[in-house]
Amino acid sequence: MIRTAWLILRKDLTVEVRSLEIAYTTIFFAVSCVLFFAFALVKEGKAPEDGAAGILWIAIAFAGTLALGRTFERERQSETLRALLMAPAARPAIYVGKLLGIVALLIAAEVVLVPLVAFLFQAPLLSHPLWLAAVLVSGTIGFAAVGTLFSAMLVRARSRDVLLPVLLYPITVPVIIAGVRATAELLQPDGELALVRFWVALLLALDVVFVTLALWTFEPLMTD
């Protein structure tokens, strides 16, 4: 299972490095999103309090939806998803490989987004870098875990571009809320790390639940 997941991850990253299609569109979209919010909300050089955390996560969620759709569109165009499903590997390994690829792409986008949000909204996002990394990685895994499953499910649906956000956002609301609250706490000058720890623990619990459910349902959902 680990070998198959690794092969799929390596293949996805190689394809992406060659085309840079998803990376460019995702990062461009996320940066545009942050800039729009900055133009709308930052008045006379003063950013709204607590705005940065919400805007960071909105940009991640929107960019993530775009990346999820494109990743599976690529497998649909040349019908390679069928070839993956025909391989003798455990089908959940295909899910894990795709999930890791999307998480890697979103983390790359976050590397650009975090300093941009910190700069435009004068937010001390990097004051607790390790905790911020823990929040972002655990939140990204939770969001991508659900998104990867739904994208794979919808790959043959005609209205997949509309259906993906409709299905994805309501289910990932707990992840987004936990991510926003944890990030906001990190931005407080007298923020409590115990609270951040609580939100990260919640995010990790959600990751376990979502990944387990996805691994359990991926094979039957993809068989027909």
């Binding site: 190689t14 060659r18 040349s78 019908e79 390679t80 499903l85 003798p88 590997a89």
Partner: protein, 236 residues
């Protein structure tokens, strides 16, 4: 766990998509070292039958047996013995021919995926284009790579859906020779096509399908086009 089988049996296989019937009670039997043709016009159910045999679709009724095994019970071990070349080629255009073949060899558990890819490229006659991306290949060259992709793990059952599409005469002759070679090596080859001239003299048995039903089955069919006309004319 690895499994093997020496015969393929379809017993009253039906497949419905909602209210639309794509296959209706198809039965046949094929042994190792034979080429079975699924012949019929567009929409006859050939591709659906291939997808069911490939375990990509579940039959709505009836059963497919791979020797004593079924798709539900054998799962991944059975898929390791099946190779499929679909109407789409199942190749990544951004990757080179060697990377594509090595990726699929790895998925099928090859100990040395790159060596397997090099052997497959040599068999396709594309060793000199190994490091070119698939997107730069002609349709015929892509088809040759795709065929080797489907055979890279030495499958017992080889499923081919319209494999002659877009091939020039030389590539067609090479494909026909390759299919005969597979038959001689003991594979069960199932070939879905509506190109009767190219299938002429290649098939050990032909199943004639129309609107999802099996109209007739002919062993060692000769004069395929006139046989086809006569059978389809009778059934309409």
């Amino acid at each position: 766990m690895s499994i093997d089988f020496h015969e393929l049996t379809a017993e009253d296989v039906s497949r419905h998509f909602g209210r639309r019937r794509a296959l209706s009670k198809i039965s046949f039997h094929a042994r190792t070292g034979s080429i079975l043709g699924l012949l019929g016009p567009n929409g006859a159910g050939k591709s659906t039958m291939i997808a069911v045999l490939a375990t990509l679709l579940r039959a709505s009724g009836g059963a497919v047996r791979y020797g004593t095994h079924t798709a539900g019970a054998a799962g991944a071990a059975l898929r390791a013995r099946i190779g499929i070349l679909g109407h789409d080629l199942f190749l990544y255009p951004e990757l080179t021919a060697r990377e594509n073949l090595a990726f699929f060899a790895g998925l099928y558990g090859a100990a040395d995926a790159h060596a397997a890819a090099d052997t497959a490229l040599a068999r396709a006659g594309l060793g000199d284009r190994a490091h070119d991306p698939i997107s730069s290949f002609s349709r015929g060259m892509r088809q040759r790579v795709a065929l080797e992709r489907s055979l890279i793990h030495g499958p017992r059952l080889v499923l081919l859906d319209e494999p002659f599409t877009g091939l020039d005469d030389a590539s067609t002759a090479a494909l026909v020779a390759r299919l005969r070679g597979l038959r001689d090596e003991g594979a069960i080859v199932v070939l879905a096509t509506h190109d009767l001239d190219l299938a002429e003299g290649l098939l050990d048995e032909a199943l004639f399908l129309r609107d999802g039903r099996m109209v007739d089955a002919v062993a060692r069919p000769g004069a395929l086009r006139s046989t086809y006309r006569s059978i389809m004319g009778r059934s309409s």
